[in-house]
Structures are given as structure tokens and as C-alpha cells.
Symmetry: D2
Subunit: 305 residues, 4 copies
């Protein structure tokens, strides 16, 4: 299996430099496009790895399924559905889904920035510090890694430059979809995006979604199976931004990418996969990472379709 | 199993009259909202049925996955991908996906009208009669029913009133995405939508997609597994119009609805389902049909996520 | 005065080759970008001219104000207002002003193609031949030139290739905004765009709008003053496509351009101007023509603002 | 003349209660829909008035042409044109003119909120207090009224609830179209909208635009004529929001409305008009005010077209 992973990374490495690291904050632009790593945890809990799987990177949008899980655990499916839609928007992740029409909850989804910002306000907690701490704790629990922490430099950089996210948050607020102080909510959102992880962390988190709520080895149930099905379904329809349809036909598994270069791929009942390569395609998905996943899917018949 | 189906139809029947039959052509408006039927073929080829499963209705958009399959068989995945996108558009099925920007192939997908009209021109054949006949033959083959035929009244009604589809076709033509005579292409498209089927037919067709290309019982392979995966993936992301995300979280299987009231649902490796109830929700999906599928999915753990 | 016109054409001639002739039909692409002509009729009926003012070209969208005038004369302001809006759309002339929303009359205006096509159906007449003949007669009357005729080659070329206009017409029809046969209406529209004119013709027509309905010299009233005010107002807000705002601040008079290279400019109470140069800017307005008008406006204080 | 004004207000008063005061801030919702007043200054400086012309109201968007004038005086036409467009957007005043495309200066204009916010940053001044003071001083100068002041209650109310404007400002900032601190810029904008005026003030300001830069009676030139032509042109194409086309055909003069119920109408070389009635139509323009202007225009042939 590790030989297969090595071979797949070898084949994908030609795409590493065809992508570009995210450049909207200086911290992300530093990403080394030579990096490419993968970590796989199979259904019996066994782990396989290849390449730069130990590298740290910020989770960015890969935190969105975890955030969605937390607000589902805190509020239940019905309450979350009443506030945030689940349809693909047909638009990029940071699009303003409103022109001269009223903004409605069904115009946003949990995998675009506007939906994720709205979700921060649905986490239970006495203030936004506690809300972020609860999100960080859940991330650690899913990953089985108590050392997961915030990348302060990225967080401060996001906070300083995140004006489009501020615009999105004020848009939500002006349509009555966000009650709390915008800067408080955004602080939680910027921190959430700046959690530092490795391929192994993502693979472990993916594993829990794949096993529909149970941790590897111990089989401890962290959340009900129906919440996993909910999150996995959202990942297939909206997880890879406006490249989700392409990813579904080429790879065929629930997955979430982040502009930090990470992808978390969930193969229900079979495996959790974490992959990392900072060169992004024009839709913001890791280019070599997607190529590696495509080959892995073909070689191991991973597509759920 | 049939007792379960009866019970599910019973529970769903309260929704029958909350939907409305399609009214854009008089023939469809005649649909009886009291009708509700289901037909299931399980992985060993065994069949179960309940309610009005024998009723005839026009296939409408449920023909789109068959049309997609045919053009994939005729042209291969790469050629089809170069002409028609696979992303959800975030818009209704008959939306004009262009305002002041150039229309590109990636702005349409095989499950919206514009994409389906474009696909008609990709069927191999010496003229549009032959193209339609080949589509009809494939439909009969997948359904195992040589008696499937055109509903002339619906076809003529569609042809007479289909001005929005004419607009869509001329739009494609003006952007160089349709070479042939618009009225010829549309004639094929209107006929395709007017094929008359039953729940049993849809269940049989769904079964072949679920078994990734093999007919029930005989196990005869009709098309390669990778084409089934392609079509099933497109169904999950775009099959239920701009209600696809909602359907994915609530039901969780590849499916296609038509404004005739039919839904074809594909449970990979497990079953093919055909369902019919002409009352539609505001997105054009059978309301009682969707409710019945939702309960069936929960009761039998059908979600692929 | 003619010396001034010569000087202005001299100054504008540097822009002649920076524009491009319309290329969507071969006949228009033949336009000679070296052509630049102007014709001015002042309030006492005196005429001034310079450059290639004798060249024939097709009227194209400059027919829209004449078409608007005719339907106003035939139906009255209230009836026309109930069917066609007057707001700038903020979009190019051939934009599809509809995505997933209902198309309403207020979404189109008489200076965009969709509005002009709808207006063809409002001309009184027993058939579309008679309707076009009445439009041609009015054009001749306004221009004082009984020899104005159809350019058959351009007409046939437009008819053969006008698929985007067909899409627009079917869109109108599908929303109940066009009752008649689409090809009949479009035939009238394509003929209307293909009327062959000179700068002198446009200047004479402009003069009648400037004098609010009276012919030069004879002072014969052709239409009520309030219709002139209506048309002139529409020209200022929408006459130069989505370059109307720019034209208003730079030139400041009601005007209409066509992709044939003509511009008709109306200086209320003072003069009618016809100008011609086939090189277009990216919005479809004659580039050198606009530059010449800008200088003429500054030199003679023509702005109405 | 005052008898005519009385008669016109009488006729328009039936529309007073068909409109609704702006309700987005409590201060504006207090507007008395029974109020209707008009003030006219003719070309020789003579004044006429009728109705509630002494009532105070906040200037709201009527400040936009003054703001545009100030930034034109401070920066020149070319510099302003390089940063802010002049085309009608075809959308409401507070629309987000961006979805998934880059926001460009040409997508905004000085009469929509986004453009006005951007203009605040173009006023010369060492800080935003000084910038606002300079705008207030210019307003006083144009109105010939040194007592014009800020309505503190409206200003604080706008500041507290102006989240959509915050969204617009952060959008500008994220696209590099606003350098300064968003809250500083918005503070200036909210103050600008909250300047308290009367019909007389608006009539005097309109007079100066009508006389192309000269004060009444003294004939003192405050700004060059070409800036008046620029502002008046922008008013005709964009001054009445997405009702500008309708206003051009019905009234036919440059004008600006505000949600406070005021309208300033400029009749070049002839008169300045201030009108007030807080009931607004669905586009945000004073309903009875527009009706009164329409009749005044017809009775006195004010249309410039």
C-alpha cells in the first residue's frame, strides 16, 4: 500500500509546480510548492503514508466540515437547516450571493465563507473565545491529537487583511442573519481557519466521518451517524467549491479542500485520507493533491457512485 | 418488503395534494395528483411494488441521464467533458446561464435543459430521427421493455409551446455550441422528454446504473462501469435541480426527477427505484415521491454518505 | 462652420483605426475604417458637411429611435410604456436580461435589442411587410429622402446569422411578451437594421427630433412635441448602450449609435447631426465619431446639461 | 407663479399617503407623510414657494451631487473618472455590484452608495472630520445658508444601523478601492447623509447647478461650468436610482432624490427647485414630490429634451 502511495505521489509530482500557493496573505504565499504528502487510515485503523506527510499547514476551509459538525451537534439538523442552506451556489467560495435581491439562508451553504461565518455564531458558548476553544477541542478529539494549535502568524495575517470576509459578515448582519458583533464572530472564523494541522490529522478526522462518527481502533462514538451522512453529503455537493461536480466525476468521494493546500477525503466505511500540496488550481483546490486523489480513487475503486 | 413500501406510500400520501402538476403544457396539467406508485428492484433482481406503479407518465427530465449515457457511449468521457460541464449552476433547470458574459461549456451541465439540448447534437446518427430512435432503443434496452414508446400528444404539445427551449437552443447556437438546425435538434429533445414510462421502467433503468452497467438477472453488461460512475456522480450533484443539495442530505442517493412526476433513484450495488406522483414542489421535483424516498432511505439505510 | 467641421474631423482621424468594424456579419466587416464623415443641419435649416458624408452605410441600431417614434405614434405613450420599460439596464445591447427571474417589460428598454424586437410587433399593419414598409416610409419622411432603401446583402446576412436575436425573440415569446410568429417579427427587425443611409439622412432625422417634430424649412409638424421629448430622453439615458453615462458627461446630447458606424445626435432646438466612421469601441459605438462629437460639443457648447 | 405652485401641490397631495417614509432607521420612519412643500428660484433670482417648504429634513442621497462636486473641485474630472464610473447600474442604490467578478471602478457610479462612500475618501483634508467640515461648508455656501447643520439623531441612528453600508465599504476596501479606515470613511458618509435642510436650501443649491456654477443675485462663480455640466449629466442618467429613465421621460430635468423625502431638481439656465414629501415610492423617490415635479414640468415646459 505504501508503495502504491509512493507511486501515486511520483505521478502527481509533475503537477506540483503548475499550481500556485494562495497569495492573499503573505503567510500563505510562503508555501513551498515542492511539498506533497499523503496519509491514509484504513477501516481497520491501519495507517499508510508517503511524501511530506509530516509538514504543518493551516487548515483553512477544511475546518468548515468540522464547524458544521459542531453546530449540528450543538443545535440539531433542523435548527441548522433553518438558518443555512445546502445547495451549491454555482459560484466561488467567497462570492457575494446577493445583488439586488434579498439574501436568504438558502442562498448560502456551510462550505462557502458566508455560511461558515454564519455558523460561527451558532456554536454554543458564553463568548467567542469559548466557542473557538470548543471548535479546537473537537478538532483535537477527531484527530486524536491534543497538540493541535493555532498558527498565530496566519491568524493575525487573516485578521489584518480579511476585508472581503468583513464585507460578507456585514452583509449577513444587514439581512438579520448575524446577531453578534461582527469583529467577534470574524475573530473566531479567522482563528478557525488558522488551526495548524498535518496530513495525519486530516486523515484521522476524515476517518471519523468515514466511519460515521466512530474514532479509529477504540470505536468510541463521537457523534451520531446521521450527522456524518449530513456532512458527507454536503461535502460531495459543495466541498470542492465550484469544482465539486468535476471532483465527483473524477474522484467520487466526499472531500474538502482548503487554500492552505490541504484536502481531507472521506471514503465512507473504508478510509480517511489527508493530503497536502500548496499549489492550487484556479478554483482554489490543491492541484497535485487532486491529481493524486484521482489516481488513488481509480486504482482502489474508491468512488461511491 | 412490499408491506414496508405500502406503509411508506401511506405516510407519503398526505403530501400528494400539496404539490402541483406541471402546468406549462395542458397534457401535463391533466396529471392526477392522487397517483402515487413505487417499484423497487433489488440487487438479486427481485422486484417489489406498491401503489399506482402501473401508471404511464412521460419521462421528461429523467431522460437526461439516459441521454448523457448515450453520448458518453458514443463519444467517450473526454469528448463529452470538452463540450458540457458538470458543475451545479445554482439556478433552476431552465435558467439562461448567461447575461453579459460569454456562454461557455462549463456554464451548463447535462441535467439542465441547455446541456440536454446540446447533448442531443452529440448522439451519433445520420439525422435526428435516427438519433432519437437510438435513444429510444437504449431506453428500451435499459428498461427491458421493447414496448416503450413516444406519447404523441405530449410531444406535439411540447413542440408547440416550447419557446423557452427554443430560446436556449438559439443561445447555444449563437455561441457556437450547436451546429445543427435548431428545430431538428429540438424535435429530438421534445421527443426524448415525451417517452412514456412506468415506475417499473424507471426502476429497471435505475438498476442498471446501480449495478454499474449490467442488466438484472442476465448480468449482461450494457456499458462500462466508469460511465455509470460518471452519470451517478452527476446525478448526485445536479440531478434534482437546485434541490440537489437538499436531496443529498435527506435521501443521499443519485436520482433524477422529471416534471412528469417521475423520479429514478439509483442505490449503487443495492437497488434501482422508480417512483411516480405528479404533484411537484416549487423546484419541480415530485413532492410525495421525494417524501417516500426519504423515508425509504431512512428505513433501509440507503444513503451512500 | 465647415472649416470647424474639417478641423474636428482632422483631430478625430487619429482614432479611426483604433476602433474595429463590427465583425458578426461579413457585410459589416467590410466597412472601411478610413471613412469619417459628418453632416450638420442647424436650426434655420442650413447644412454643413465634411469628410465622407456621402458614404452609404446600414442604419443598424440608429433605427431604434425611429421605431420607438413609430410605435408611439401608433399606440400612444401609455400603451408603449405598459409594454416596454425605459430604464438603463446596465448591460450590453444584446444582453439576456433574465436568469432565473421572470422577464418583465420593465427589464427591457427600446434601445436594446430585446426591446426593439418587441417594438416591431407594436407597429400597426396587416402583416410584417406592411409594418416594415411603414417604418421605411417614416424614415424617408423624416430624412426627406424618398430614395432610402434596404441593403439586401446586409439584410440577408443578418437574417442568416441572427441567432442571438432569435434567442431574444423566443425569450420574449416564452414570457408572453410577443404574440406573433418569431421569424416574421425578426424579418421586420432585420430589415429595419439594414436600411441604408448617409450622414445627411441621419442629420435630417436628428433635426426633426431636435425641432421636436417639425421638418426643416417647411416647418411641417410630423409628430407631437411630447413624443420628441420622450424619444430624446430615452436617447440620453440609454442611446449609447452601456456607454450612455460616459457620453452624457463628455458630449451631453441625446444620441444613438449603430454598429454600422453611424451616430445620430440631437441638439434640442439647435441642430441635427449625422456622423459616420465604422471603427467601433468595445461598447459598439463609433470611436472616431464619438471623439468628433465630443470636440464639436466643447467647441459649440452643445451640452444640454 | 405661487398660485400655480399651490395648484400643483393640491393636485399632488392625493399621492402623499400612497408612499411610505423610509423605515430602515427609526428617525426617518417618523416622517409625516402629510408634509408636501416646494421652493423655486428662477433665473433672475426670484423665489416662489408653497406648502411645507420650511420643514427641516435630512438631505440623505441629495448630498451625493454636492459630494461629487466637491471631489471634482478637489481632484479634477480625470482623476475622479479614473476611480468612479458614470454608467447607470440598472440596479437599486444599495446593490452589491459584484458577484463572482472583480469589482471595478466602472461598476459603480457617484449616485449609488458604493460610489458615494468611495468619494468620501477623495475629499481633500487632513482627517475625516475636516473632510466632512469642508463638505458641510460647501453645502452652506451653495445654499447661502450658514446655519445648515448636522441632525445628530439621524446621524447616530445611521451609524448604529448602517451595516449594509459597512458591507459596501469593506467590499471596496477588499478590491483596493478604499485605502482609509472603513469606520472613518463611513462616519463621514453617515454625517453627509444627515445634514438637515429645507426645500429652500435644495432650491438654492439646484439654482447654482442650473446657472452652471454661479450663485443667485451676486452671480459669484463658485465652480467652473464644466463641473456643473458633469454633475447635471450624471443626475439625468443616475440621479433617481433605477427610476432615472422614467423620470427623464416624465419630468426631463437633472434631479436627485433622497430617502428623507427631498428632491433637488435642476433646470439648466432656468431654475432651481427644492421639493419635499416623505412618502416614497418603491424605488425610494418621493412619490408626491415626483408627481408635483411632473406637473410643473408639463405646465412650464421644463424638459430639456
Amino acid at each position: 500500500m505504501e508503495a502504491l502511495l509512493e507511486e501515486i505521489l511520483d505521478n502527481a509530482s509533475q503537477y506540483k509546480k503548475l499550481g500556485k500557493p494562495a497569495s492573499y496573505i503573505p503567510e500563505l504565499a510562503k508555501g513551498d510548492v515542492n511539498d506533497l504528502g499523503i496519509y491514509v487510515i484504513s477501516s481497520n485503523g491501519q495507517a499508510f503514508r508517503a511524501g511530506d506527510y509530516k509538514k504543518q499547514f493551516t487548515i483553512q476551509s477544511v475546518v468548515k466540515p468540522i464547524l458544521l459538525l459542531l453546530v449540528l451537534m450543538d443545535n440539531g439538523i433542523d435548527e441548522v437547516r433553518s438558518r443555512i442552506g445546502v445547495e451549491a451556489t454555482g459560484k466561488p467560495f467567497d462570492a457575494i450571493n446577493v445583488t439586488d435581491q434579498t439574501l436568504l439562508s438558502q442562498h448560502i451553504n456551510p462550505m462557502v465563507n458566508m455560511g461558515a461565518i454564519a455558523m460561527c455564531s451558532l456554536i454554543k458558548g458564553k463568548d467567542y473565545n469559548e466557542r473557538f476553544e470548543r471548535l479546537l477541542e473537537l478538532t483535537r478529539k477527531l484527530a486524536g491529537n491534543p497538540n493541535i494549535h493555532l498558527d498565530e502568524a496566519v491568524y493575525l495575517s487573516e485578521k489584518r487583511t480579511g476585508n472581503k470576509n468583513r464585507a460578507l459578515a456585514f452583509m449577513l448582519k444587514s439581512y438579520g442573519m448575524l446577531d453578534d458583533d461582527v469583529e467577534d464572530v470574524l475573530d473566531c472564523y479567522f482563528k478557525a481557519c488558522s488551526i495548524s494541522v498535518t496530513c495525519k490529522d486530516l486523515a484521522r478526522i476524515a476517518y471519523v466521518f468515514a466511519s460515521r462518527g466512530k474514532l479509529p481502533i477504540s470505536d468510541e462514538r463521537v457523534f451520531p451517524a446521521e450527522l456524518a451522512r449530513f456532512v458527507n453529503a454536503v461535502l460531495v455537493t459543495c466541498g470542492m467549491y465550484d469544482g465539486s461536480g468535476d471532483f465527483a466525476v473524477r474522484v467520487g468521494v466526499p472531500a474538502k479542500s482548503g487554500v492552505g493546500g490541504g484536502i481531507m477525503a472521506v471514503v465512507p466505511t473504508r478510509m480517511g485520507i489527508g493530503i497536502f500540496s500548496p499549489g492550487l488550481d484556479e478554483k482554489g483546490n490543491s492541484l497535485a493533491g487532486t491529481k493524486a486523489l484521482e489516481e488513488l480513487s481509480h486504482r482502489m475503486y474508491l468512488s461511491i457512485f
